[in-house]
Each structure stands twice: as structure tokens, then as C-alpha cells.
């Protein structure tokens, strides 16, 4: 394939991955920003969302869109509820101590993974997309008769992949509205900025923490429902989303929604774009090192405030 179409394909594919990554990372960023704890089980809530989506889609007969829509509603609720339970039973009881939270959430990770293996099984199972058409994409070229359109071999995307990008943008906008325009958002932001003052102003910090933890998990689950018609639900699928969203949150700058989205785009797209020029694994190595160097020379992240 020629350079131009190849690059365009890499960017489009990167955008799909980046959309899902942005949602997952936003969930982690919220938890990390407000509660100051590392939730190692975040990827497992992503996995939970995908697995629940499979169960929901498979128990509802009829057009695949019905099952998919039901999964979009149910999976985040279940993941959120499980997360709130984890918050109440574990995190609250260790007073959100950072180290204890790491060990505790590793424990939760094992429990969720093993439960999924026993109930759902070791296979990777697909969820049928609500719709999926191959859309061949045109490319322009300067020829003898001026600008000409043509359809390069292989340059295409599916309608469902485009939908994922659009849906992620819509959810991000909704998230931004909630955070900036509602009372809940105000309370979360206040708790994030200064827990002590928030307490003094009568904000029920404990309840905010529960909601934030549940909300973060629900975002991860929502991202998983979006991706599961493209990738499959598998009990070990939480591993990469955890690492990548963790990286995205820090690179973007703690507490910065804008930074999280930019970092998700950067990380979601960089290895694909570099692989236009180099072999895939080498691209991944270089992309990883480049992103690490961003942080080395800008330790507060792209959009973070300078830390003391």
C-alpha cells in the first residue's frame, strides 16, 4: 500500500484504540485523582464489563443491537456495583492507605479473574456488533487530469469502528458536562482538590469515594462493551488496559481530563503510526521509550501542574 493510505489507516485504527483507551483511563484518572489510590483491579472491571456484555448479548434473542444496547446499560451498572462493594468492604477499612490499597486490589484482581475463569471459561468469545459494514475509503491523487479520487486496495474501516469513535466522543462530552455542570461533579472536584476542606464544608467524603470508585469502574466497563464486538471477551483481557490507562493518566497529568484524552491519542496511535515505517515490534519498543522520555523531561505530565 502507498504511504498516504497506509498512514491514514494507521491513524484510523489508532483512533479506535485511543477512544476506548481514553474512556478506560478517564475512569482510572478519576479514582486516582480524587482518592489518591492506585486501583490495580481497574483492568478487571474492564474485563467484567466485556464478560457481562457477552452474557447479556447471549441471553437476549432478536437483533444483535438489542442485546448490545442492553449490555451498554447493564455491564457498567454491574461493574460499578462490584466496585462500590470493594470500596465499602476493603478500601474504606484500610482508610485508603496507598500501599494497603495496592495489595488489596491485587487480591481483588485475583478474585475477579478466577471467578471469570470459573463462570465464563477460558475461551475468547465474540459479541455480535449491532451493525458492521465494510466501508472502502477513497484517497486522492494528483494525476494527469488534476485531482482524482480512487479507492486504494485495503483502505477501509467498518461502520462499527466509526461508531466506537463517535460513541466515545459523546461519552467524553457527557463526562465533561457532569464534571463541570452538575452538583455531583462539583463535589467530586472539590474532594479532589482538598479533602479536608471538603469535609469541613459538609461533603460526605466517604460516600463521594464510593461513588467515584464505582463510577471509575463503570467507565472502564462501558469502554469494554464498546470494544467487545471488535475484540473478544476473555478473562485475562484486563491486563493491557490497566497498564495503558495507568500510563495515560500519568502522561496526561494527574487530574487533567484534557491531558488524559491527549495522552490516550498519543499512546493509542503512536505505535501504529511508527509501524508505517518500521517493523511492528520495533515500533512498539520505540513508542514505549518515547512516551517514557516525555515523562522524564516533563515529570508532571503533559497538562499536569508542577508537583512540589
Amino acid at each position: 500500500m502507498e504511504f498516504g493510505p497506509h498512514l491514514m489507516l494507521a491513524i484510523l485504527e489508532g483512533a479506535v484504540g485511543a477512544s476506548v483507551l481514553a474512556l478506560t483511563a478517564l475512569g482510572l484518572s478519576l479514582v486516582f485523582g480524587v482518592m489518591r489510590v492506585v486501583n490495580v483491579a481497574h483492568g478487571e472491571f474492564f474485563m467484567l464489563g466485556a464478560v457481562v456484555a457477552w452474557f447479556v448479548a447471549n441471553s437476549i434473542a432478536g437483533h444483535p443491537a438489542i442485546g448490545f444496547l442492553a449490555a451498554l446499560a447493564i455491564a457498567p451498572l454491574i461493574a460499578g456495583a462490584v466496585a462500590m462493594l470493594v470500596d465499602r468492604l476493603i478500601l474504606k477499612n484500610v482508610a485508603y492507605d496507598p500501599e494497603a490499597t495496592i495489595v488489596g486490589t491485587i487480591g481483588v484482581l485475583y478474585i475477579l479473574q478466577q471467578s471469570a475463569l470459573m463462570i465464563y471459561g477460558p475461551e475468547a468469545r465474540p459479541v455480535e456488533p449491532p451493525f458492521s459494514h465494510r466501508i472502502a475509503l477513497p484517497w486522492v491523487e494528483w494525476g494527469e487530469n488534476g485531482l482524482a479520487f480512487f479507492y486504494p486496495w485495503g483502505l477501509s474501516i467498518t461502520s462499527y469502528k466509526l461508531f466506537v469513535i463517535v460513541a466515545a466522543i459523546a461519552i467524553l462530552l457527557a463526562f465533561w458536562l457532569v464534571m463541570s455542570r452538575t452538583r455531583l461533579g462539583l463535589i467530586m472536584r472539590a474532594t479532589q482538590m482538598d479533602r479536608e476542606t471538603a469535609l469541613a464544608f459538609g461533603i460526605p467524603v466517604q460516600r463521594v469515594y464510593s461513588i467515584v470508585f464505582g463510577f471509575g469502574a463503570a467507565l472502564a466497563a462501558l469502554a469494554a462493551v464498546l470494544i467487545v464486538p471488535i475484540q473478544q471477551a476473555h478473562y485475562l483481557m484486563g491486563h493491557d488496559p490497566l497498564l495503558l490507562s495507568f500510563i495515560v493518566v500519568i502522561i496526561g497529568g494527574l487530574g487533567s481530563v484534557r491531558g488524559t484524552i491527549v495522552a490516550a491519542l498519543l499512546i493509542g496511535m503512536s505505535d501504529g503510526i511508527i509501524s508505517v515505517f518500521l517493523s511492528p515490534t520495533l515500533s512498539k519498543i520505540i513508542a514505549t521509550l518515547l512516551v517514557a522520555l516525555v515523562l522524564v523531561f516533563r515529570p508532571q505530565g503533559l497538562f499536569g501542574k508542577k508537583m512540589a
Partner: protein
């Protein structure tokens, strides 16, 4: 006894107990303990940075792997004998930790975690990329016949056990001694209050640099030890999982305690070993155990013992 004498007695006592265990344990548990001691060496190295200096690294697998590949490839491809290969492993780990430290120490806190994580990911991917020499994910076997020192076969259970114990004892004693010297005290100062330590006139960066190199080199020694004693080198050991393990072991055993790492490794090893004998769903048991420990022994096993009963534990 004063505090230092007590801690010397504790460490020498622990080593004495481990020597006796080498002779009395059944073969199976003797073999397990040899593995535990090598992994505990890794955890001891991790603890230097995490427990004492307060820097949480998520990339220590790269140092473990540097030691493992440095030593393993020197034997497998270079045909060296155990001792020189082991030294090459140490040099590789020390060099990698120096480079990583110079870059990563520009950051602190969560940024340090991520930078180390990502460097380790690139090391892991590089091990796969250079599959022609590293064997990629499959790794390679170090020939059984070459795994001997001066005619003593490291594949013989008792010899292997004492080689592992030596590795562990040296790492334990070095770190214990270090923490009694001013260098170690400055590290604790950095952990407790970096700014104040700097104002007292200490060169914080150089101390942190030293801590990363010592920590990384001990981790590399464990990796080289694993390669030599168990005969296998593979990219799994460079994966992120093996960066999270030492964090988990140290937290379980008790961060900032000298014997915590060993206790943490042994606890986790036998938890999985026994639970997997009881049920196929042993990860459920392991997960529940971790949650319970979080709830009821937040300072880790040794940390909790120190808090409740034995306040002088080093």
C-alpha cells in the same frame, strides 16, 4: 544487647536456621526453599529502593532480567563458566540500573513508577525482538553439565540449596549493614522527608542514584542466580508480572524490614502451592488471603509483628 547487636544476632540466627533447614527438610521443600531464597534475594534488592528509600519502581523485572540474560547468554552463547558469567550478569544489571536511574530519577512518585514500568516494557519487548539470540518468549536452557562451580554441580539439590542460601545471605547482610551506615540512614531520611535531608546538606540525588544501582544490582544477582541454579532463561521473567511480584512480596512481608522480603516470598509461594493442591480455583484463595492481609495486617507480616510485639525488629 543494644539494637545493632540484636539485629546482628537476628540475621545470623536466621541464616543459621536456614542452614539447618537445608539438611532436615524433605527434598521437595528443600527445592522450594532454594527457589524462595533466590526470589527473596530479588525482594531484598527491591526493598532497598522501595522500603528504605521510598521509591516505588514498577520495572524491577528489567534488572532481574538483565542479570539473568547477561549471565545466561554469557554461558549459553559465550561458553563462559559460572563465576565469570555471574559477574557479567551483575555488570549488566548495574549498568542498566545506572542508565535507568539517571533518567528516571528526574521524576518522583507516580511518574517514577510509570517511567520504570515503561523502561521495563521496552526491555521485555527487546528480549522478544532479539529472539535470534535470546530465544524470545521461549527462552533457552543452560546446559546441565555447565552448571557447576569447581566440580560442584549446582544441579545437585543440597549444593544448589547452599548456593541459593549464600546468595541470599550476602544480599541480606549487605543491606542490613548498609542500613546501619550513614548511607542507609540518609536513604531513610530521603524516604521520610526529602526536602529536609537536602537542607541538612546531603546530596539526595547521589544517594538515590546509589540506591537504584544497589537495588538493581541485587535484583540482577537474583536473576543471574536463577539462571545458573535452575537452568532456564526466558522473557517471562522480564514481563510486568515479575515487576509487580517483588512489590507484593515486600508489602506482604513488611516494607522496610530486613527479613520481611523472605517472609513475603515464602508466604506467597506456599499459599499458591498449598491452595492449588486443595482446589483448582486457588487464585480465589490467594486473592482472599491478600484481601484479608490488607485488612488485618496492613504493615505486612513482619511489620505487624514489629508493631505489636517486637519493636526492635530491623
Amino acid at each position: 544487647m543494644n539494637l545493632d547487636a540484636r539485629s546482628v544476632a537476628l540475621h545470623l540466627g536466621l541464616i543459621a536456621v536456614l542452614i539447618v533447614l537445608g539438611f532436615v527438610l524433605p527434598t521437595y521443600h528443600q527445592g522450594n526453599l532454594a527457589r524462595i531464597l533466590v526470589l527473596a534475594t530479588y525482594a531484598v534488592g527491591y526493598n532497598v529502593l522501595f522500603g528504605y528509600t521510598g521509591l516505588l519502581s514498577l520495572g524491577h523485572a528489567m534488572f532481574f532480567a538483565a542479570g539473568m540474560y547477561g549471565c545466561g547468554m554469557a554461558m549459553h552463547l559465550g561458553g563462559l563458566t559460572v563465576i565469570p558469567a555471574f559477574v557479567i550478569g551483575l555488570i549488566c544489571a548495574a549498568a542498566l540500573s545506572a542508565v535507568v536511574a539517571l533518567l528516571a530519577l528526574r521524576t518522583i512518585g507516580v511518574a517514577f513508577m510509570i517511567v520504570t514500568l515503561m523502561f521495563a516494557q521496552s526491555v521485555y519487548l527487546t528480549a522478544l525482538y532479539l529472539g535470534e539470540w535470546t530465544g524470545g518468549d521461549e527462552g533457552f536452557v543452560i546446559a546441565q553439565a555447565t552448571r557447576q562451580i569447581a566440580g560442584y554441580a549446582l544441579t545437585e539439590p543440597l549444593t544448589r540449596y547452599f548456593a541459593a542460601l549464600t546468595l541470599f545471605a550476602v544480599a541480606l547482610l549487605i543491606t542490613a549493614r548498609m542500613m546501619q551506615m550513614s548511607f542507609g540512614r540518609v536513604l531513610i531520611g530521603v524516604r521520610e522527608n526529602e526536602e529536609r535531608t537536602r537542607m541538612l546538606g546531603y546530596d539526595v540525588f547521589r544517594h538515590k542514584l546509589g540506591a537504584v544501582i544497589i537495588s538493581g544490582t541485587i535484583a540482577g544477582a537474583a536473576g543471574a542466580g536463577y539462571a545458573v541454579l535452575f537452568g532456564y532463561v526466558g522473557a517471562t521473567f522480564a514481563s510486568v508480572q515479575y515487576s509487580i511480584f517483588p512489590l507484593l512480596w515486600v508489602l506482604l512481608g513488611g516494607m522496610g524490614t530486613t527479613i520481611g522480603p523472605l517472609i513475603g516470598v515464602a508466604f506467597m509461594f506456599y499459599l499458591i502451592d498449598y491452595a492449588s493442591g486443595v482446589t483448582n480455583a486457588y487464585m480465589l484463595i490467594a486473592g482472599a488471603a491478600l484481601v484479608l492481609l490488607t485488612l488485618f495486617a496492613r504493615a505486612g507480616i513482619v511489620g505487624e509483628i514489629r508493631n505489636r510485639w517486637v519493636p526492635w525488629l530491623p
